[in-house]
Amino acid sequence: MSELWRLGAAELARMIAAKEASAREVTEAHLDRIAVLDDRVHAFITVTPELARATAGEVDARVARGERLHPLAGAPVAIKDILCTDGIRTTAASRILADYVPPYDCTVVERLRVAGLPIVGKANLDEFAMGSSTENSAFGPSLNPWDLTRVAGGSSGGSVAAVAAGMAPLGIGTDTGGSIRQPASLCGVVGVKPTYGRVSRYGIIAFASSLDQVGPIARSTEDAALLLGVFAGHDPMDATSIDDPVPDYRAALGEGIEGLRVGVIADWMGGDGLQPGVKARVREAIDALAAAGARVGEVSLPVFEYALSAYYLIAPAECSSNLARYDGVRQGHRAANATDVVDLNTRTRTEGFGDEVKRRIMLGTYALSVGYYDAYYGKAQQVRTLVIREFERAYADFDVLVGPTSPTTAFAVGEKTGDPLAMYLSDVYTIPTNLAGAAGISVPCGLSDDGLPVGLQVLGPPLSEPLLFRVAAAYERARGPAPDPPLWSAP
């Protein structure tokens, strides 16, 4: 079997452009890897070999014609099954959309096609991206390539597991409260949450519209930076997208971090619930940044204590409205034998949604009700403003902030499913960035005592992606090659 799957995306694209390998061969190597591994990892809901081969074939034709290609052309990508694909079912990992076939492509997929990135499959996730382990998927959980008894994290667990297991060098996820960074941390890959509005949300099945953002997943910062460059940028179909030129994200990767002001979020490093092995690896990573010339200091951000609570009012409120359209009338599941329209709505939603989705719809409906709006949704929006101010205050003194991505390494399947609050705490370090509409990246920083990956989180103000990539790349150089999961040696 071809070993092409071991290579990074930029390297594969280089080989394709140099005719050292064909895009078709590269795609087949990954489809083979999926065929061998995915029964165990369960990264995908739908594998899309025909779509991938068609794109790979176009790339090969363009190579043959001597056309200039995107630096990632031909590199396969696994996309979260919440990105609408024309003619290919898009489930959001929900029974209610189990047979939904969108009539259109989301903007991100359109841009992937233009750049020539073969889509190998629609990756698993927590239902409607609500969760931190993919255990809320109606299609069963994705497992962690480092330990198949553990979760891949979530909600973009499938995309991340695919990248970590070598089933695709690139993945695309969405990050509403940490859904890219947390699984990236748990599976030992790079995950980026771009600035709100940097990437079009058009065609991304909505969970919480003011927080949702699409981002890249890869095994190196360079690949992640290149991938963001493929799909970032203004989209007239998304009124909240930022009309600002997209920089060359790869350009600054080689610049050092000499003199860069790095603020360590003291509240997180000293807080309860932080696994000692995680704390140790993150501390070492910070030391490595200092050794590379960064000026490291500490910052306290006490308002962040309230971020999780605010998030669990705002996100459910928006989701209760966004998910109202799944009523059995137009698209998606329709309950049989309904007696009237109210019965149809009720039965369809009762059958179609899983427990966590129902929990959040109820929470959000309550938070928006007359008489409770001010106390819940209104108050949460005030906290959101305070979080933004807290970040601004910190960025007066520091260029970037650092800390752990997740308080723990990957937990066992079933460990937290009975305790929603414990599950929610998994995102305690990632949520403030979403509330602020800012940017963040998780980059692997070694293994904890339990042999599982740990992620270093680097945060920056809105549109600071080039800076975040620069810091992450500098850290990668200091760190050296990250270890591979056991699945790489024993397929």
Binding site: L83, C84, T90, A92, L97, Y100, P102, P103, Y104, C106, R201, Y202, G203, I204, I205, A206, A208, S209, S210, P236, M237, D238, A239, T240, A317, E318, S320, S321, A324, R325, D327, V329, R330, Q331, G332, V341, V342, N345, T365, L368, S369, V370, Y373, Y377
Partner: protein, 485 residues
């Protein structure tokens, strides 16, 4: 007991933009069901709204014409409720930060001029249309329903009045004036029969002279300005009866039945929805630039009230004539074309408010589509003034010509209806009439003056109504004055 009615109107107006509020779909009325739809207006998962700038401009224009303040910062909200003809199960609307606030509209009735406050005018999207298949067409007893989403997402402006209206007549005057303004602005077809203008009325009663408001009832389903008047008159009468027998009016929504002229209960306050409004996260605030607003203000056309005043002053029209001529930009254009073709202003106004208006009503047509060109009508007016045809014949021919889309003068020539003013021809008819009515002629000659009118009528009849009245009168008097022969 005497009560005073307190009425406020909520008017929804579909804007006549070419595309929908939040997507590029067409807005043509009457297209095949579900042919003017896309992922956005069907609420497909993942789709997002992008506001139609033209629609927002139209709303600002409406706000300026209604003397509203245009908010410097305005946002969209989601209004959440489940209904099959609403694709997303929420409507994008405006809530506590509408674009236009604090305006007013002046109306006239027999009691003089009244100022009706405009609370707000805001932007929202229309829903689809449900067709309930079953006996009555109402949802309760239908076997199934069909939904057409062509209308879903058409830009809709809601204009809410203050409770400043006191009578059904004032409500009709308000709607008539509002309709004239919207037509003048060219922002909507404003057709109540096609649903591009819809009106809900809030009405309560209070003792004459009291300050506090009574319990209000919302009345829906009126499909013409006249229906609004009928529904309000009925509702005032109904509430009066309720109060007179010592009962309390129930706060509720009532449905007007066009056939019976009555209202019936739809739902009470206890069943009122909690719409769970919250700011629409898929859209950014509207913050119209000062220059944009000024540009729109400078571009406002002459509004109906000013137009009526100008017409009255410049052409000495009566208020009724000015109201008719000034009702619509197209009617003003027609009037001005009549003047340009040489018709005197008073005659032009009389004809427009009379026969032309009747013909348009009979055929359900707008003046913009009138079948008789202003030049043709002006020629007819001139023919009457020149004695070519008499007025009654001209009126009758006008209606026939309208029916056949023909030139009235051509029709007169074709039918030989020109006025007979030749003394010889008239005298022949007069002598015939006197011969046939010798007794009456004798009575006149004996001094019974009033018989003259009878003989005059008989002569006109003999001339098939085409006799020139002054010639007939003169010749008849001459012949009767001859010595008895």
């Amino acid at each position: 007991m005497t009560y005073e009615a307190v009425i406020g109107l909520e008017v929804h107006v579909e804007l006549s933009t070419r595309s929908k509020m939040f997507c590029g779909c067409a807005t043509t009325f009457g297209a095949e069901p579900n042919t003017q739809t896309c992922p956005v207006c069907l609420g497909q998962p993942g789709s997002l709204p992008v506001p139609n700038e033209r629609a927002i401009e139209h709303l600002m224009t409406i706000g300026l014409a209604l003397s509203c303040r245009i908010a410097g910062h305005s946002i969209f909200h989601r209004k959440n409720y489940f209904y099959p003809d609403m694709p997303k199960n929420y409507q994008i609307s405006q809530y506590d930060l509408p674009l236009c606030v604090d305006g007013h509209l002046e109306i006239e009735d027999a009691g003089g001029t009244h100022r009706v406050g405009i609370t707000r005018a805001h932007m929202e999207e229309d829903t689809g249309k449900s067709l309930h298949v079953g006996a009555t067409g109402r949802i309760a007893d239908s076997s199934h329903s069909l939904v057409d989403y062509n209308r879903a997402g058409i830009p809709l402006v809601e204009i809410v009045s203050e409770p400043d209206i006191r009578t059904p007549e004032q409500a009709q005057a308000y709607l008539t004036e509002l309709r004239a303004i919207l037509l003048t602005l060219g922002v909507s077809d404003v057709r109540m029969d096609e649903g591009s203008m819809r009106c809900d009325a809030n009405v309560s009663l209070r003792r004459a002279g009291a300050d506090a408001y009574g319990v209000k009832v919302e009345v829906k389903n009126m499909n013409s300005i006249r229906s609004v008047g009928r529904a309000l008159a009925y509702e005032i009468e109904r509430q009066t009866r309720v109060l007179d027998r010592g009962d309390a009016v129930v706060q509720e929504t009532r449905h007007f039945d066009e056939g019976t002229g009555k209202t019936s209960s739809m739902r009470s306050k206890e069943e009122a929805f909690d719409y769970r409004y919250f700011p629409e996260p898929d859209l950014v605030p509207i913050a119209p630039a000062e220059e944009w607003m000024e540009k729109l203000r400078a571009g406002l056309p002459e509004l109906p009230r000013a137009r009526r005043e100008r017409l009255t002053a410049e052409h000495a029209l009566t208020p009724e004539q000015a109201a008719f001529v000034g009702a619509h930009p197209m009617s003003v254009a027609y009037f001005e074309a009549l003047l340009a073709a040489g018709a005197p202003a008073r005659d032009a106004a009389v004809w427009m408010a009379g026969e032309l208006s009747r013909a348009l009503n009979d055929h359900g047509e707008e003046i913009g589509a009138a079948r008789i060109a202003p030049e043709q009508l002006a020629a007819l007016i001139e023919a009457v003034a020149g004695g070519v045809v008499n007025l009654n014949t001209a009126k009758k021919v006008f209606l026939d010509a309208y029916e056949q889309s023909a030139d009235p003068l051509a029709l007169i020539a074709e039918r030989g209806l020109q006025q007979v003013s030749d003394d010889g021809a008239v005298e022949g008819a007069v002598r015939e009439v006197i011969g046939a009515h010798a007794a009456e002629a004798a009575r006149y000659r004996a001094g019974e003056q009033k018989v003259f009118g009878f003989l005059m009528g008989q002569t006109m009849k003999a001339l098939k109504g085409q006799g020139a009245p002054d010639v007939v009168k003169r010749v008849l008097a001459d012949v009767l004055g001859e010595p008895d022969g």
